[in-house]
């Protein structure tokens, strides 16, 4: 097991740190496939097993729930074991989950899909999500926002690849006796295993005490950036952790509410065809990916607190603008407004690890990030539920479909205001929580 150990991944002298981002992105763009899983929904209902869309929907929900839970539970193990072992474990779980699901489709056993893609694959998602991020933070102490933005941009990109790849593989394997779903799962398991193992092979951690050439940590220049370290078991008891939990939860709830309903919302509000609505959803995915890198990189210059204030304030204004774009039937303006909103949704995901690094240092930042991701699990249920419930209730009450989303937009703006308050409450962590024995900005 030495090859997989943390010690075996310590970079030799002269190692180029720009080799590490591709390793992180290689893993993230595979596990990001989960966002594109919906392309299998309809084919899975046509396998002859009698499965319904709500039953199939549980596979995705279990996977996202397990992402949050496994990141929280295994975060400390991830920090201790190092990125290579974690990436291999992630590949085994994620690709193994796809293989189990393929068996489930062939045998028409639904719980095998729940266990395979949902439970096992979900654990792979959690492990694969946090490990590359914490590794990149350690390689780029001078640009932590840009570094985390690169990795998490890969996750957004994973959806862009996963959805069309799934469709093309099903088309390729479709036959008189099969819809090609099981075969597509097997092929994806193989493709993703190669890419994730490539990342595991390539990844390195910096030697202890390493810092970029010519860069020195700035002592006490930025009050919101610490050079000290806080352990995960202490960090999650601090008010800063829970403020940031709320920040992430509110930002994601608002964004996912739009992203999950984009196609239908566009069709309902502007009376466009399903194809145009689908095109709108595709466009948002690109902005979701680009926003992760853009905003996270911007945060290196503005500071994390400022950039989240921008997300929340600008986001709230833009949400309130959406009903107006509908009332004047300006589709172009609607697209621009929602595209900017979605860039900030992606930016919120990508900036949070750097914010955690600023608050709690690099020691166990992956484990702290893992625990914070539970906010995502909550938001994944909260956002879509709010939009679905309110818009459905409005339509049932006789409100025209085109106007049914107006109140949900104001509600999303309200959620962002809660996030803004939580963000404004974030203060530097009390030094009594710091670990003086850990080397400042060192690696463990």
């Amino acid at each position: 097991m030495h090859f997989l150990s943390r010690e075996a991944t310590v970079a030799p002298a002269g190692f180029n740190r720009w080799l590490v981002p591709p390793a992180a992105i290689a893993v993230h763009m595979c596990i990001g496939e989960v966002y594109g899983f919906s392309v299998f929904n309809v084919p899975l209902t046509q396998t002859g097993a009698g499965w319904t869309i709500p039953q199939i929907g549980w596979i995705y929900s279990i996977a996202l729930f397990m992402l949050g839970m496994s990141a929280a539970v295994f975060g400390t193990w991830v920090e201790r074991s190092g990125p290579r072992k974690t990436m291999v474990a992630s590949a085994a779980c994620f690709c193994g989950g796809l293989l189990i699901s393929a068996i489930g489709v062939k045998l028409k056993i639904l719980w095998l899909l729940y266990f395979g893609y949902g439970f096992t694959g979900g654990i792979g998602l959690g492990l694969g999500y946090i490990s590359p991020v914490s590794t990149l933070i350690k390689w780029f102490p001078d640009r932590p926002g840009m570094a985390t933005g690169m990795a998490i941009m890969g996750f957004g990109g994973g959806a862009l690849i996963g959805a069309p790849l799934g469709v093309k593989l099903m088309e390729h394997f479709k036959s008189a006796t099969s819809l090609g779903v099981a075969e597509a799962f097997v092929a994806m398991a193989g493709i993703y295993a190669v890419s994730m193992l490539f990342g595991a092979l390539l990844v390195r951690v910096p030697p202890e005490g390493w810092k970029p050439e010519g860069w020195e940590p700035k002592e006490h220049v930025k009050p919101m950036v610490t050079n000290a370290n806080v352990a995960v078991d202490v960090a999650w008891k601090t008010p800063q952790f829970w403020c940031l939990w709320l920040v992430l939860c509110m930002n994601v709830s608002a964004g996912v509410g739009i992203l999950g309903q984009a196609s239908k919302m566009c069709s309902d509000m502007f009376g466009v065809s399903a194809a145009v609505g689908g095109g709108f959803a595709g466009l948002l995915s690109i902005f979701n990916m680009g926003g992760r890198f853009f905003w996270s990189s911007v945060s290196d210059y503005t500071g994390r607190k400022t950039v989240y204030c921008i997300y929340f304030l600008l986001g709230a204004i833009l949400y309130c603008t959406v009903p107006w774009t509908q009332s004047i039937q300006n589709k172009s303006l609607f697209v621009i407004v929602t595209a900017v909103i979605i860039t900030m949704y992606g930016g919120g995901f990508a900036t949070i690890p750097a914010y955690l690094r600023d608050m709690f240092g690099t020691y166990q930042v992956g484990a702290i990030h893992g625990r914070l991701i539970t906010a995502w699990s909550v938001a994944a249920i909260l956002g879509p539920s709010l939009i679905n419930y309110i818009s459905t209730a409005k339509i049932a009450a006789g409100v025209p479909k085109a106007e049914a989303y107006n109140s949900t937009m104001f509600l999303m703006a309200g959620l962002l205001m809660i996030g803004l308050i939580a963000n404004l409450l974030v203060r530097p962590v009390d030094p009594k929580y710091h670990r003086p024995s850990i080397p400042k900005n060192g690696n463990v």
């Binding site: 720009w18 591709p22 992105i25 862009l160 709108f280 690109i286 697209v335």
Partner: protein, 43 residues
């Protein structure tokens, strides 16, 4: 040689990402070329 390795590993992720972006751009084309349905009842 080092530069070649660097370019190769970035290409490993850039090619599939580029393909994914291209697929999404293609998917989003109806948004720019599509026509608004003839005054569909908004209920």
């Amino acid at each position: 040689m080092k530069a070649l390795i660097l370019v190769s590993v970035w290409a490993w992720i850039a090619v599939p990402l580029g393909w994914g972006v291209y697929q999404s751009v293609q998917k989003s084309m109806p948004l720019f070329t599509g026509h608004i349905q003839a005054a569909a009842p908004s209920r």
